[in-house]
């Protein structure tokens, strides 16, 4: 398909900004101007619409296909949230307005959304307070690590190291490193967990804290989670909860009760805001009482007269990780979702997410190698059986074959501590019929792997392109048409 630049024709126009109602009065010095206008395409509005409509048809989304991408929680995104985010009262609100004197009174609706989202998240997570600033999950992790560092600095602790299990998302070690910490990796035992004794062995006074997902990326809940948190607390360390897998327990159990001190939530996972093809998301961070002072500036507070205001006077705060109050449009969508589900609805989310994952796990375990054969939470991890590997069929081939059958593949080759991993997360919004069709496709692929493995190596054949040459792309990068 042609690039949009290749469809350009001189003097073709879509939007006409002029004419202006003021005289063209300014003649900026020529040396300050660009030599030639930017080579943007010249198109009609129809050209633009056709181009992007055609591109959109080259995409899978949750609205078009089942998307069991493990650890990404690709649930259905309710349309009402899109509608509400576009209300002019929210969409056209300038973020600097509340920073003007009297301005806070002009944004009471938006401040209330932020305040109540904070209250809801406190209840759900068992935390004392949240910041809405972090703009994505990894950004929440970084914010959490900055809070951890601020706490230790404030107490005069000399801490250098964060403990992270080998099954963690890559963002965990990256976030800890960017916040200035060294990372000590802890292995996963054959139980699928980071064991208490290994934490004990890795623990010393240098340890600032631990970063954990719970359930972990294998979809397993560590029954010793409270003991691990206690152990970390014994050296005045802090326990950080990565909320990537919150969908497994939302409304059912609270990380604060497990002993966690800092949490982040991916609103674009558990709280159903759209993933946008890779953002925007939102990653609010919650903390327990003793860490409240370190949360970023500003915080929404409710005054005695029932009005809402922004509090800026926070001397111990880590400062600003976003220009304003976070990705407000995303927070708003999550708020609407929480209002609609209510406490019972949220609980049903976790129950059905876990039920769907266990159903798929049980249906597939005769055909693929289950990494850990026990009750899973919101996702299950398989690996490719030896019999298939013997025929040179790998996880990537199974993934591509699923595409031809109309399914987005699971996450493959992650977690990295399972060889040839396939991580399936169906989410609660999918029906039994969809799961059955997916299971059937997976079984069909397993059979094809025995009978005609070469067919799988060629998949996908139904997509606009077949497997692109990634090695060539990285060797001679062409990342812009100039």
């Amino acid at each position: 398909m042609k690039l949009i630049f290749e469809k350009s024709a001189p003097d073709r126009r879509a939007v006409q900004p002029g004419p202006s109602d003021v005289p063209a009065s300014i003649n900026i010095k020529k040396a300050l101007l660009r030599e030639k206008p930017a080579e943007l395409p010249e198109l009609s509005e129809l050209d633009v619409i056709r181009h992007f409509t055609e591109l959109s048809r080259r995409n899978f989304g949750v609205d078009t296909n089942f998307y069991p991408l493990g650890s990404c929680t690709m649930k259905y995104n309710p349309k009402v949230t899109e509608r509400i985010a576009a209300y002019p009262g929210f969409a056209h609100l300038h973020p600097l307005l509340p920073q003007l004197r009297m301005g806070g009174m002009l944004t009471q609706g938006a401040l209330r959304v932020l305040y109540e989202t904070d209250l809801f998240l406190r209840e759900i997570m068992g935390m004392a307070g949240f910041t809405m600033q972090p703009l994505a999950g990894a950004h929440g992790e970084l914010t959490g690590m900055m809070i951890m560092a601020a706490y230790h600095r404030d107490k005069g602790n000399k801490k250098t190291t964060v403990l992270i299990p080998d099954s963690a998302h890559g963002t965990n070690p990256a976030s800890a490193a960017i916040a200035g910490y060294k990372v000590r990796t802890i292995g996963t035992t054959e139980n699928g967990f980071m064991e208490l004794k290994d934490v004990e062995k890795a623990l010393d006074d240098d340890v600032a804290g631990v970063m954990l997902t719970c359930p972990n990326t294998l979809g397993l809940f560590n029954p010793h989670i409270r003991d691990i948190c206690d152990l970390i607390h014994s050296v005045d360390g802090l326990a950080y909860y990565d909320g990537a897998n919150l969908n497994a327990i939302v409304g059912k159990a609270r990380p604060g009760d497990f002993g966690f001190d800092i949490v982040h939530i991916n609103l674009h996972k558990t709280f159903a805001t759209p993933h946008g093809g890779g953002g925007p998301g939102a990653g609010p961070v919650g903390v327990i009482e003793k860490l409240l002072d370190f949360l970023p500036v500003s915080i929404v507070v409710k005054r005695d007269d029932g009005t809402y205001a922004l509090e800026y006077d926070r001397p111990k705060s880590i400062g600003y990780v976003a220009p304003f109050y976070g990705n407000f449009g995303i927070i708003l969508r999550a708020y609407v979702y929480m209002l609609m589900l209510g406490k019972n609805g949220l609980k049903r989310v976790a129950e059905n997410a876990v039920l769907n994952a266990n159903y798929v796990k049980e249906k597939l375990k005769k055909h693929y190698k289950l990494a850990f054969d026990r009750t899973c939470k919101h996702e299950c991890v398989f690996s490719v059986p030896e019999s298939m590997l013997g025929k040179s069929v790998h996880a990537i081939d199974i993934a591509k074959a699923l595409i031809d059958r109309g399914f987005h593949p699971p996450t493959v080759y992650f977690p990295t501590n399972v060889k040839e991993a396939m991580m399936i997360e169906p989410t609660e919004t999918e029906s039994k019929e969809t799961l059955d069709a997916f299971v059937e496709a997976m079984i069909e692929i397993a059979e094809q792997a025995k009978a005609e493995p070469d067919m799988l190596k060629n998949a996908p054949v139904t997509t606009p392109v077949s497997r692109p040459n990634e090695t060539a792309a990285a060797k001679h990068p062409n990342i812009a048409s100039l």
């Binding site: 350009s8 591109l55 209300y87 998302h169 953002g279 609609m340 060539a472």
Partner: protein
């Protein structure tokens, strides 16, 4: 239950098939943690939630005539932008890890990267970062990696909202961050030249700067390069319709806040951080990058590339921790730029500058209102000194229906009487006239 597809009957069937009860599915969680009461409201239906939120939206005053900018702008957004980005094939997709079923997102991001390069006069761009402030911080970290040095010079004419973010992000890092105080509205050459040495990784500047003044950093680029340091320039993308590009000035990394490219102000986000650089630094760049390649049948195709830099491969050695970024906002920017096109962006920028210039003339004609800087050229924002405290005047003008500008005392010493006023193409001659009358009446 809303948004759950399985019926109660199906749930029972499924449990029967796996031979467990619902409670069994959670038996691995210690019972002391399970099903504790939560103080949350009961759920409500769509009709009620829309009514409730419409009420809250009404409590936000969006009817003020907006002369407030400060890096976040009230520009016109063509309807076709919404039309494209509301296609759920785009907005309900995830990061394009599986290229065959993500060619739509991937080609769009490749085109976005190309558009950002063309706009800024650079050679490579990434797929987006969270916002302009994070992009500036990431550019600084990139410069530290490239040079192996740890001193950074930043002028205080750079948006203070970005500077406070950089201060926060670098609290735990050993970085020698030195600020220079701008000279009459332009980057302070004297101080910057004195500070650039062989420990300097980068100089960070902004054009047009926070005060709206237009500068040319070619001389600073040259001075930085002589000492092996990089020049990082943050720019306002709409101004690139007419202004000299950071690329033409010799910048090594360009960043900026992309909100003005078709995104509503939405009370602070979602926005778009963009970043562009030189081909020789591409492997040091943070964030996702889309590259063009071919498939097995030699068809042009697009993939996420240079992933060896990233957190899911390099973990604690990655160039950045960034994972999800602002892909849909990048698409928004691309659609906006495609609709405006080569002539439309130039005209929009020119109209902004013309209207700001007109407003400047009208407002400085009011007795007691003076320009703060002698610097002659500004884009669509300018600083005026009032005869009394700006915050007071702004509060009075709110009552008259104007968000008249930003009081600079919020971030700068000795600027109690200074106001930053912004004019976009959306403001009419009549509105500007009414602002002038209102201002005169409250002084």
């Amino acid at each position: 239950m809303p948004f759950i597809s399985n019926t109660t009957e199906q749930q029972k069937e499924m449990l029967a098939e796996i031979g467990l009860g619902m409670d069994d599915l959670f038996s691995d969680i210690p019972s002391e943690f399970l099903d504790k009461p939560m103080n949350l409201p009961d759920g409500i239906n769509e009709q009620n939630v829309r009514n409730k939120l419409a009420e809250l939206a009404d409590k936000n005053s969006i009817n003020l005539t907006c002369f407030l900018g400060g890096g976040f702008y009230d520009h016109f957004i063509p309807a076709a932008v919404y039309s494209v980005v509301s296609r759920s094939e785009f907005y309900t997709a995830y990061t394009p890890y599986q290229p065959e079923l993500s060619q739509g997102t991937l080609q769009a991001i490749y085109e976005y990267q190309s558009a950002i390069c063309r706009l800024t006069g650079m050679e490579v761009a990434n797929a987006s970062l969270y916002d302009g402030g994070t992009a500036m911080y990431e550019a600084m970290m990139m410069a530290l990696r490239i040079t192996g040095r740890n001193k950074v010079i930043i002028d205080d004419s750079v948006n203070p909202i970005n500077r406070v973010m950089i201060d926060s992000y670098t609290q735990n890092l050993q970085i020698d961050l030195e600020e220079t105080h701008c000279a009459d509205g332009l980057a302070n050459r004297k101080r910057i030249f004195r500070k650039i040495d062989d420990k300097t990784a980068a100089v960070i500047l902004q054009n047009p700067n926070f005060f709206g003044c237009i500068d040319d950093f070619s001389d600073i680029a040259e001075a930085a390069h002589k000492k092996g340091a990089l020049l990082i320039v943050s720019c306002y993308p709409i101004s690139m319709g007419i202004l000299k590009t950071p690329g033409e000035m010799g910048a090594d990394i360009v960043t900026g806040e992309g909100q003005s490219l078709g995104m509503p102000m939405s009370f602070g986000g979602p926005y778009l951080g963009f970043m562009a650089s030189r081909m020789k630094y591409v492997r040091k760049m943070p964030g996702r990058i889309v590259g063009q390649t071919t498939d097995r049948m030699d068809r042009q195709s697009y993939v996420l590339t240079l992933q060896a830099r990233e957190q899911h491969i390099r973990r604690d050695k990655a160039t950045s921790n960034i994972c999800s970024n602002e892909a849909l906002c990048a698409l928004t920017a691309l659609v906006y730029l495609s609709l405006l096109g080569k002539q439309g962006l130039r005209e929009t920028a020119q109209i902004c500058a013309d209207k700001a210039s007109y407003a400047y003339k009208r407002l400085t004609a009011i007795p007691g209102v003076e320009p703060h800087f002698k610097a002659r050229w500004f884009f669509n924002e300018f600083v005026l000194d009032l005869p009394c405290e700006a915050a007071d005047v702004i509060a009075k003008l709110i009552e008259k229906g104007f968000a008249a500008g930003f009081p600079l005392s919020r971030y700068y010493e000795k600027m109690e009487n200074s106001i930053l006023i912004c004019v976009t193409e959306k403001r009419t001659k009549q509105q500007i006239g009414m602002l002038a009358e209102a201002l005169e009446s409250v002084l």
